[in-house]
């Protein structure tokens, strides 16, 4: 390879995080994720996947360690300021404002990001190209949408912020198999449009189909990080069940 190595879209060093006065849930994670890749974060229940992604989004203040987005340290920033710095987050549940219309949800996605470049009309058109079904649902109350449709609105809102890194917490949870497949296709389209994606998933098979790399978390620690093509189901079973304790 020639030239300088690419700056990681997401760089994490020694990250530790937890809730309230309880112990650490995330126990010292290091990570370098290349731009425009999908990293699948998988692991058994209670392994700290959602806590990890919440700490990246700024919804949980890290107890130790650092987080950088395209070389800029965002560790000390609030969740709202991290959005301006290029981090977007789609939670597993309650991922839209149910009492607001789809149009209002989309307006709010950029209204408070005036300092962030690339969040204007062109980005909205790009997002509507990715999710054309949203164009004529503007006046629908987001709470009246199906689970799959809400997921699309949530993706669209996150992408309107023109993020460097998109954090997805179990986007397939509660969806029918057809919607899981549509959701995964949408994630690939988003990656192809130039966004780096961290995908937390319980549906390991679906995640492995689209991921470029995989990180396995067990008990808050990184057990394995490898290109998706090198992961074998048997290895995962061993990691999930043999070392979960």
């Amino acid at each position: 390879m020639s030239g300088a190595p690419a700056i990681p879209a997401l760089a994490v060093r020694g990250l530790r995080a937890g809730y309230g006065r309880g112990g650490d849930i995330v126990r010292g994670i290091d990570l370098d994720q290349l731009p425009e890749t999908i990293l699948a974060v998988i692991g058994p229940n209670g392994s700290g996947k959602s806590t990890f992604v919440k700490a990246l989004a700024g919804l949980l203040r890290p107890r130790e360690g650092s987080i950088s987005i395209t070389g800029r340290d965002v560790t000390g920033l609030s969740a709202a300021r991290r959005v301006v710095a290029g981090v977007a987050y789609v939670p597993q549940e309650k991922n839209v404002f149910a009492t607001l219309t789809v149009r209002e949800n989309m307006q709010l996605a950029t209204e408070f990001l005036r300092r962030r470049a690339g969040t204007g009309r062109e980005q909205e058109e790009r997002v509507l190209t990715l999710f054309p079904e949203l164009a004529d649902r503007g006046r629908t109350l987001a709470g009246n949408l199906s689970g799959g449709q809400r997921q699309m609105v949530a993706f669209a809102c996150a992408l309107l912020a023109n993020p460097e890194v998109l954090l997805l917490d179990e986007p397939s949870a509660g969806l029918s198999p057809r919607f899981v497949s549509e959701t995964m296709e949408a994630i690939v389209r988003v990656r192809s449009a130039g966004t780096t994606i961290v995908l937390v998933e319980q549906n390991v098979q679906a995640a492995l189909c689209i991921a470029d790399a995989v990180m396995v978390l067990v008990a808050g620690r990184k057990s394995l990080e490898a290109p998706a093509g090198q992961i074998r189901q048997a290895d995962l079973a061993d990691l999930f069940f043999a070392r979960a304790a």
């Binding site: 919804l59 969740a79 709202a80 959005v83 404002f97 607001l100 209002e104 709010l108 996605a109 990001l113």
Partner: protein, 287 residues
């Protein structure tokens, strides 16, 4: 007779609508029943009296300055008290708001004394129309409250601030993940709550008088209105306020005036038994 009672009840209800809206906004966005609304009303009444009779402002200017004063005090109270208790749960915040209400009321008593005072408002003969007697104060109250309601509706429905307030009420975590700083929205909400209660305080002073208990006398009907409308629903708060005002007035058809509050609350109790979430409470239910 009934027409006059309906008119009086509607205007009384409108007077309750602004503080009921303030209670509803606090509950929707900050998730606690804000009993400081009584003390804020009293502060608004005295601020209006100071600007009007001591500093020589006309009543419109004095009302606006009083509303701005209570807005500023509300924001400062958030910085000093409510903001520090934000993560301690709604009970702690509710008790703190009761304390704040008593402190504001007693500060007014300490500074201005117990004497009843009046605003310097021109006395005008009531209008007579279709057999109704419409006082100048009723017209001023109705116009001011309706103007505020339209303005607040426009703010909540058409501006980024209004959308952000509704977003924070709906899902504060998601709002943060959309780039909305909750603390900024909360402070601006307190400013709006202060504007509403400050102006309502001046209107209450016009309707009754300026005295330390003026806010307390509105406290229970205001909460009844907000709960009847469905806590967290702004439109519900207005409808609840009208229902309380009208039921208090119409109760005088069947019982002496001194019992009207008991009858009106019996009606409200019955309404709540039939519809426990309030008139428009369904949309305030978390999904």
């Amino acid at each position: 007779m009934i027409g006059q009672l309906l008119l009086n009840g509607t205007v009384s209800g409108l007077l309750l609508a602004l503080p009921a809206l303030a209670v509803s906004l606090t509950f929707g966005i900050l998730k606690f029943p804000n009993f400081a609304v009584g003390g804020s009303l009293t502060l608004g009444a005295y601020a209006g009296w100071v600007f009007n009779t001591q500093l020589g402002f006309q009543i419109v200017g004095a009302s606006l300055l009083a509303a701005a004063t209570v807005a500023l005090v509300s924001v400062l109270l958030d910085v000093a008290v409510f903001g520090r208790l934000r993560e301690q749960g709604s009970i702690a915040l509710m008790v703190a708001s009761m304390g704040v209400s008593l402190i504001l009321e007693n500060l007014c008593r300490f500074v201005f004394g117990n004497a009843t005072r009046s605003l310097d408002v021109d006395v005008a003969r009531p209008l007579r129309w279709a057999g109704l007697r419409i006082s100048h104060e009723q017209i001023v109250t109705a116009a001011a409250v309706l103007g505020c309601l339209v303005l607040l509706h426009l703010v909540l429905r058409t501006t980024p601030l209004g959308r952000a307030m509704r977003a924070v009420a709906d899902n504060p975590t998601l709002a943060a993940a959309r780039g909305i700083e909750r603390e900024v929205i909360v402070r601006l909400t307190w400013a709006i709550i202060g504007l509403l209660t400050g102006l309502a305080g001046v209107l209450a002073a016009i309707d009754r008088a300026v005295e330390p208990l003026v806010g307390w006398s509105y406290q229970i009907p205001v909460f009844a209105a907000a709960i009847l409308g469905g806590l967290g629903s702004p439109l519900g708060a207005v409808l609840g306020a009208l229902a309380v005002g009208l039921s208090e007035e119409l109760a005088t058809l069947v019982v002496p005036t001194s019992y009207r509050q008991a009858v009106s609350f019996a009606v409200i109790l019955l309404l709540l038994l039939v519809r426990s979430q309030g008139l428009l409470g369904a949309r305030a239910v978390r999904k």
